[in-house]
């Protein structure tokens, strides 16, 4: 029998050279690794992103050392310790080395303790509740985010009031508006399944958890503070992504964070115009409906070319007014459209499941609350979607409220949102614009 090998591992000079070269390469390599940080991560657009990226940097250095150490030893082994041709022998009988084993237990243990401490510090620093949150004009307001398949809705509960004394709520749809230095503190709620609100540029993410709407749901919080990004023009836009599988349209469930340069830009370009629009709705119900319908999550499921909606979960709304009159025997087009919104299960378009959320004055979900007046304007808008509308467009300001009255028993205040003394003029304007839409249809 041939030689079974000596008792000490023999390392050839070649292996020493390889080891030296490798050590050099690893030092350069680790350096090179870290230059990738800006390439492999999005912009640092929040205070939190800075510290998270610092942690990433630390992880890359430690990971790089481990990577090059292990790959290096592997490489040296396969070069230096390969069996030479014709060598049928065994390696040395070497069962272990308690000291070495203790070392490679203790050192990784110390490394993870270090990482745990660093991570803990960054975590507590990033999630600490801040004193002044969502500050607008010196006041702290609430910003509520609703996730529903497959759209985000943002609501600003302002500290301003309309003439009737109601608190004004701005609905900015899939857009979150903020400004550099604002301590954003979002309250997240879902209407259906679990979603996850992720802003990659801010390095923040939080799941939205279904709760019992009768008990106020199960709100979760998300906090971050936007910072200035070099070479960025403001307002800057960053994507919001849904990170938790929520169904068919999960990949399309997106939004945008719009960061303004400072509070005055935020007020000028977003806040004040939004409040003005709420206080001064267009007189024409069709125009009002066009605005109202975009405050709801309809775009998450429907196609509507005039508004650029592309989702295919529900039936297309293109030309809906052409079909509305023939859908349900005995229902006028206005009645059908109104029913399909408030009582969406009443008629199911062939080929589609009943998936639509409930809308109405009494629903639990704040973002789905729809007053009879809002329904009126939305029906008026949808009545214009078609070549030859089945709706009575000549007489929309009477026909639609009648339909809502017939189906749901609600009285519609068609002077909604207008000063009383303007009523007459507005009504005339309504009729005029209805003529126009009817004619253009």
């Amino acid at each position: 029998m041939e030689n079974r090998g000596s008792n000490t591992p023999s390392i050839s000079p070649a292996a020493v050279v390889v080891a030296a070269v490798f050590l050099l390469v690893s030092v350069i390599g680790i350096n090179w690794f870290t230059t990738f940080v800006p390439v492999v991560l999005p912009e640092q657009a929040s205070a939190e992103s800075k510290s998270v990226d610092e942690l990433f940097y630390i992880l890359m250095i430690i990971g790089g050392v481990v990577f090059f150490l292990i790959q290096g030893m592997l490489l040296i082994s396969v070069i230096a310790f390969r069996a030479r041709p014709g060598d049928e022998g065994d390696g040395p009988t070497y069962h272990g080395n308690p000291l070495l084993e203790i070392v490679w237990t203790i050192i990784p243990a110390l490394v993870v303790v270090f990482l745990a401490v660093v991570s803990f510090n960054i975590w507590t620093q990033n999630t600490e509740p801040k004193a002044a949150i969502n500050m607008v004009e010196g006041q702290s307001i609430s910003i509520n985010v609703t996730g529903a398949r497959y759209a985000w809705t943002h609501q600003y509960v302002t500290e301003r009031f309309d003439p009737d004394g109601n608190q004004i709520v701005i609905n900015s749809g899939p857009e979150l508006h903020t400004y550099i230095g604002q301590n954003v503190d979002l309250t997240l709620q879902t209407q259906d399944v679990i979603h996850s609100y992720w802003v990659p540029a801010m390095r923040v993410k939080q799941d939205l958890l279904p709760g019992d709407p009768r008990r106020g749901g199960r709100p979760t919080q998300l906090r971050f503070t936007p910072i200035r990004v070099e070479d960025r023009s403001y307002p800057a836009r960053y994507p919001i992504v849904c990170a938790e599988l929520c169904g068919d349209g999960h990949g399309r469930m997106q939004g945008t964070v719009i960061v303004y340069e400072d509070e005055s830009q935020f007020l000028d370009q977003f806040y004040e115009p939004a409040i003005y629009a709420i206080l001064n709705p267009p007189a024409d119900p069709v125009l009002r409906g066009e605005i109202e319908i975009q405050n709801y999550i309809c775009n998450s499921c429907h196609i509507l070319d005039s508004l650029g909606w592309t989702s295919t979960t529900g039936p297309s709304l293109n030309g809906v007014a052409d079909r509305a009159g023939e859908r349900v025997p005995g229902q006028t087009a206005e009645e059908y459209i109104a029913t399909s919104i408030w009582n969406s299960g009443a008629f199911r378009v062939p080929g589609y499941d009943q998936q639509m959320a409930a809308f109405g004055p009494d629903v639990m979900e704040a973002t789905n609350v729809m007053s009879p007046e809002q329904l009126y304007s939305i029906v008026a808008y949808l009545c214009t979607q078609g070549e030859q509308s089945d709706c009575d467009m000549e007489n929309a300001s009477a026909a639609i409220p009648d339909a809502i009255q017939t189906v749901f028993g609600y009285e519609v205040d068609i002077t909604f949102g207008m000063e009383d003394d303007e009523d007459e003029a507005m009504l005339e304007a309504d009729a005029a614009s209805d003529d126009e839409s009817g004619a253009s249809g």
């Binding site: 079974r4 030893m73 272990g96 390095r203 068919d248």
Partner: protein
């Protein structure tokens, strides 16, 4: 000098008479209580599911070639595709695949005639085909589309009947897994020869023991979770329905209390395989045998305390820290294994057999999965990459770079024992090169797209990620192609491979001290294990192997080419 142990009496003449005496192919299609038949039944069916699941992965990568929906008719169709891909790969491929090697090798390594409960063993296997039919049937009725994790309420209030069938199928597979594991535990504790103390047991047995303990302790939680899910779906209960007083996080907690330990069910046997293959093919004892064995137990134990790191974005913020710490601790026993394996090959005489190449490939890829695992444990960083392609990359590095590479290493290593014939080493090397580089270029770039902002489980994505996704898809097709090489090799070698003989790798563990394939009762006499399963390099071991050679004759081309 230790006494020279003699395995058993010579039957060289029998070897001459019949080179390879193996069961007829039809025996594998019947009910059999022979652990070797059952092992092959597990292995071949698991490999078939690997091909089906792999074909689905190809579909996924084809869909992701462009940022829009093109191959799939809808997002929902894509969702059901990756749901069934994950379900097949986990429940019908990896877990049964380890049952295959465990079944075939463990009783042989223990010198036993069979498993402790042969009938139960067969029953556990035969639960798999009906379970697979139920799961696959679900795909054709109205497919489950909530991912393999099936989070409610998506999987309860918003899914079709396929989800119910999915849960029923997973239930059956859980039962199969529990029965198989009880069998392994009883076998390993009771059926060793008197000379083989637990500290002389081969490390694959240690790994299978640790795995089985996890499976027996954790799988009932899966059963509990699935039962609640089924009740919610069909009986109108509201365990997970908030409107009825339920809680969606209840599912996440119970599910991950099973499914995180299940990750170790999927990889620990592979680590056992690594210890065997690295030692035999570098002709050197396993470095730090006790620590390697104990670290399996350590991983099994700590593995039960980390589940909520899967819930870092849904868990109450103050509960996240303890789970970050336990998760990081797992790195320590895993590190012990990595370093011990390096210590094993260090200074050895490495034979670059296909089995060894895949074992070395495991080392080189698993370390990347380990590093990304620690990164994911670091809570603030995890928050950014949670549920992104970074995570997809991480778990494929540990489950493909880890488990599948170990499966291939095990296949090349034990194929001669199972079939009596050697596999083609040249094809094995080609297979390794395609698999290694195909894998690396598929899954490494996924880290980057994940960090840049691509969430997982989407069929549509931002256009900026298209070049990355095309690189990933191209490499995935190379990886997919590599599978055909090994399929061809297995079929060709089964019929035409060189005769292996009893011990082609000159290994010391007991499965090699009998004919290939072994006779129906495994050993014609009570086998005597060598004092040290990895005692290479001593004169005693040389003498032991010589006796084996004399007893069974040397038929193989000895460890392939060097």
């Amino acid at each position: 000098m230790a006494t020279i142990a003699v395995p058993l009496g010579g039957q060289a003449e029998q070897q001459e008479a019949e080179a390879v005496r193996r069961p007829a192919l039809s025996d594998y299609l019947r009910w059999s209580v022979d652990h070797k038949i059952i092992g092959v039944q597990y292995g071949v069916s698991a490999f078939l599911f690997f091909i089906i699941g792999g074909a689905m992965a190809m579909g996924i990568r084809l869909e992701l070639w462009t940022p829009e929906l093109d191959l799939m008719v809808s997002g929902a169709a894509y969702n059901s595709l990756f749901t069934i891909h994950g379900t097949i790969m986990i429940f019908l491929f990896i877990i049964p695949m380890w049952a295959a090697f465990g079944n075939f090798v463990v009783p042989l390594q223990l010198g036993a005639k069979d498993m402790a409960f042969p009938w139960l063993n067969a029953f556990a296997f035969w639960l798999i085909p009906p379970a697979a039919v139920v799961v696959l049937l679900g795909y054709f009725v109205s497919p489950a589309e909530a991912g393999w994790t099936s989070y409610p309420p998506l999987s309860t209030l918003f899914s079709g009947d396929g989800q119910t069938l999915w849960a029923l199928g997973a239930h059956l597979l859980g039962i199969s897994s529990i029965m198989g594991s009880i069998n392994f535990i009883v076998t390993i504790f009771n059926m060793r020869p008197p000379e083989m103390t637990i500290w002389r047991m081969p490390l694959l047995c240690w790994a299978v023991l640790a795995t089985s303990i996890i499976a027996v302790m954790a799988t009932p939680f899966l059963a509990g979770a699935l039962t609640l899910l089924l009740l919610d779906r069909v009986a109108g209960t509201t365990f997970f329905d908030a409107a009825g007083g339920g809680d969606v996080l209840l599912w996440q907690n119970i599910f991950w209390f099973y499914s995180h330990p299940a990750v170790y069910i999927m990889v620990l046997p592979g680590m056992g395989v690594l210890s065997e293959v690295l030692s035999v093919h570098s002709r050197k004892p396993v470095f730090g045998y006790r620590m390697v064995g104990l670290s399996s137990m350590g991983i099994a134990f700590v593995g039960f305390t980390v589940w909520a790191h899967h819930m870092f974005t849904s868990l109450q913020p103050e509960l996240r820290i303890p789970f970050m710490i336990t998760t990081m601790i797992i790195a320590v026993p895993t590190g012990i294994k990595m370093f011990s394996w390096l210590g094993t090959i260090w200074g050895g005489k490495i034979r670059f057999t296909s089995a060894m190449l895949f074992a070395l490939g495991f080392l080189s890829l698993f370390v990347i999965g380990g590093i990304s695992g620690v990164m994911l444990a670091a809570l603030p960083f995890d928050i950014h990459v949670h549920d992104t392609y970074f995570v997809v990359s991480h778990f494929h590095f540990v489950l493909f770079g880890g488990s599948v590479f170990a499966v291939y290493a095990a296949l090349y290593h034990w194929f001669p024992k199972v079939t009596g014939r050697m596999m083609n080493e040249r094809l094995g090397r080609i297979h390794f090169v395609f698999t290694y580089f195909g894998f690396l270029f598929t899954f490494f770039p996924m880290h980057v797209v994940g960090m840049l902002g691509m969430p997982r489980r989407v069929a549509v994505y931002v256009e900026a990620f298209q070049p990355w996704n095309q690189l990933i898809s191209l490499s995935a097709f190379v990886l997919g192609f590599s599978t055909f090489i090994v399929i061809y090799n297995v079929i060709k070698s089964y019929y035409h491979g060189p005769i292996a003989g009893a011990n082609p790798w000159r290994a010391l563990t007991l499965e090699w001290q009998t004919t290939s394939p072994p006779p129906p009762m495994n050993f014609d006499d009570d086998p005597i294990p060598f004092e040290d399963p990895y005692g290479y390099g001593t004169e005693a071991s040389a003498a032991y192997l010589e006796v084996v050679d004399e007893a069974f004759g040397v038929r193989s081309n000895r460890a392939g080419e060097h």
